[in-house]
């Protein structure tokens, strides 16, 4: 195993706009590079809430990098319908596969998980809550706790750890992650949920590692960029 995950199945949940999809894509790439080519790595796009900036939009690119993206096919790929392929269960049950499950945002998005509860016995998965305290409705420990209980109730699963994805996109500084970690530390004190990893763009990852030496860092290559972005310049010419 690896410090970023403890189980074969990593479920990525959180409020919408918390950065789940970027975390899910990069975690599946981390699994890809950790395991040999005989192990299959699947990224399940179970987001039926959000319509833009979804893992499935990077289907071809990720396929080239050895990630099997499971998402609605054909016309349904571009639809806003609550339709998911049957192969999701197949991947969750296949003990030889490494799986990252990218879930839709908020309790509404997490409702999808309830359907897979039978495939996900307790202790068989990591369920990571991605938190960005610079987003509305996850800007305090109380709000985060409310989100956790709402997601757990809808998904019928237990959140097992946290991901500190504190960011203001291109304006993020290492200090922002440090401030976010203060809140996550308080959340851990109240709930017992540890921070599994911190995620940030590679440019600030070394500085973040120094500031938070006890927490693994997942550097995020950004995939969900708007059409005007050039390289790492998210905003383009504002």
């Amino acid at each position: 195993m690896n410090s970023l995950w403890h189980h074969r199945v990593s479920i990525i949940t959180g409020s919408y706009g918390s950065g789940k999809t970027e975390v899910a894509i990069n975690l599946s790439l981390a699994k890809r590079s950790f395991y040999g080519s005989e192990t299959s790595v699947s990224l399940i796009d179970a987001d039926i809430v959000n319509l833009y900036f979804r893992s499935r939009d990077k289907f071809e690119e990720l396929a080239k990098r050895g990630i099997h993206v499971i998402a609605p096919a054909g016309d349904l790929r571009h639809a806003d319908l609550p339709a998911l392929p049957a192969s999701i269960s197949g991947s969750l049950r296949d003990t030889q596969q490494q799986v990252v499950l990218d879930v839709g945002g908020d309790p509404a998005g997490a409702t999808v998980l309830g359907r897979y509860q039978a495939d996900l016995p307790e202790g068989s998965y990591d369920m990571i809550l991605v938190v960005n305290p610079y987003r509305p409705y996850t800007d305090s420990v109380d709000a985060m706790q409310r989100l956790i209980s709402a997601i757990e109730s809808k998904s019928r699963l237990r959140i097992t750890a946290l991901c500190n994805n504190s960011n203001l996109m291109g304006f993020t500084t290492p200090e922002d992650l440090l401030r976010g970690q203060d809140l996550l530390g308080e959340l851990e004190a109240r709930t017992g949920l540890p921070t599994a990893f911190v995620s940030c763009v590679p440019a600030i990852a070394p500085a973040v590692s120094v500031m938070l030496p006890n927490i693994p860092v997942l550097p995020l290559g950004l995939y969900m960029l708007p059409p005007w972005a050039t390289g790492n310049n998210y905003a383009g010419e504002v």
Binding site: D139, M169, R179, P226, T230
Partner: protein, 354 residues
């Protein structure tokens, strides 16, 4: 924590409205603007406001008519097909001179179209949409901070002129995320809403009536003349545009909203290669920023209008340029978003660069 918050476009527009004093929202769900009513349904009760998910877009716009008539700051939002359904109510509001802010997060059309971004509702927004001789003030933000600032201003403009204001975004703007700051704006000096139907208590027995039915032809013409005089004032006072690199630009690209941002990336590349290209970005689509064109005309040899449509704003560009320069067009449809490279290729072709 910093003052900046990371928000989705739809959320940012909703929060900006609440900070501008909007306490009523009536709407009906449609993709890709659902986060806006969703956010309102959560936030408005926290500030003592009222959110109603109406049974249809037609109901929602008529609830807006009612709340605006009672003098409240009120908003509705929808996406293309839903905005079409609201057109009758919008015409009534323009006729009854009711201030409100309407948001259209445009998707691909015509018909049900797609849920991807589009700019095919330009004609509907600036040329009427509903029946009769009326105008909406139409504001088109290109980033989320601007969306926040324009929504704030839109409520003031609506109240100042007693006219509905339309915020024209697209799916990309509604769905994307950016850090925004809700800053204290300088509010305009606004007249009292002494026309609102707020009961007889403070009106010395005078009854205010909100209505767009004027049966006598002479009266209706007089009403129309008054509206036209108001629109003439707006045309002078409310033009907004951004000019980028236009001082020496031989070719001026004209684009609004998300498309303008893609154009900016293309222009940055082109200028690095030494090409004199600039951007004229209309922010107010009505009134169309004619004054900005006057500024770029002395140097510009060519105009290129880029839209996510078959070519709608390009007609207004041609009207303003009035044959003095060639006006070219490049557009993508159906939810396809043009890339910076595509636009750069068009520019180089027009400039005759191989």
């Amino acid at each position: 924590m910093k003052q900046r918050v990371l928000m989705k476009g739809n959320e940012a527009i909703a929060e900006a409205a609440i900070r501008a004093g909007c306490r009523f929202f009536f709407g009906y769900p449609i993709t890709p603007q659902n986060e806006l009513p969703e956010y309102m349904s959560r936030r408005l009760p926290e500030v003592g406001g009222t959110f109603v998910q109406a049974e249809s877009e037609v109901s929602a716009i008529n609830m807006v008519y009612g709340a605006a008539g009672a003098g409240a700051r009120v908003m509705t939002s929808s996406s293309s097909p839903g905005i079409s359904l609201k057109q009758e109510g919008i015409s009534y509001m323009a006729g009854a001179q009711l201030p409100a802010v309407i948001v259209n997060i445009v998707r691909g059309g015509p018909g049900l179209g797609s849920i991807q971004p589009g700019q095919g509702d330009y004609f509907q927004s600036v040329k009427g949409g509903g029946h009769g001789d009326y105008r909406l003030v139409v504001l088109a933000p290109a980033n989320l901070q601007e969306a926040v600032d324009l929504v704030t201003e839109a409520f003031d403009i609506a109240d100042l002129y007693r006219n509905p204001v339309l915020i024209l975004g697209d799916g990309l703007l509604g769905q994307m995320m950016e850090p925004v700051e809700f800053r204290q704006s300088t509010p305009r000096e606004l007249p009292a809403k002494d026309w609102a139907t707020t009961g007889l208590r403070n009106h010395n027995g005078h009854k205010n009536v909100i209505n767009s039915l004027v049966l006598h032809a002479i009266d209706l013409e007089a009403h129309n003349i008054h509206l036209q005089e108001k629109y003439a004032l707006i045309k002078v006072a409310e033009q907004k545009a951004e000019l980028l690199h236009c001082d020496d630009a031989e070719l001026v690209v004209v684009a609004y909203g998300s498309t303008a941002r893609i154009v900016k990336t293309a222009i940055a590349q082109l200028r690095d290669q030494g090409h004199r290209v600039g951007l004229l970005r209309p922010i107010s689509l009505w009134p169309f920023p004619e004054d900005a064109f006057a500024k770029v005309m002395p140097v510009a040899k060519n105009f290129l209008c880029v839209e996510m449509s078959a070519g709608q704003m390009v007609e207004d560009v041609k009207l303003v340029v009035n044959g003095a320069r060639p006006v070219h067009f490049y557009g993508r449809m159906g939810g396809i978003v043009p890339t910076p490279n595509e636009i750069a290729t068009q520019v180089l072709q027009i400039m005759g660069v191989k």
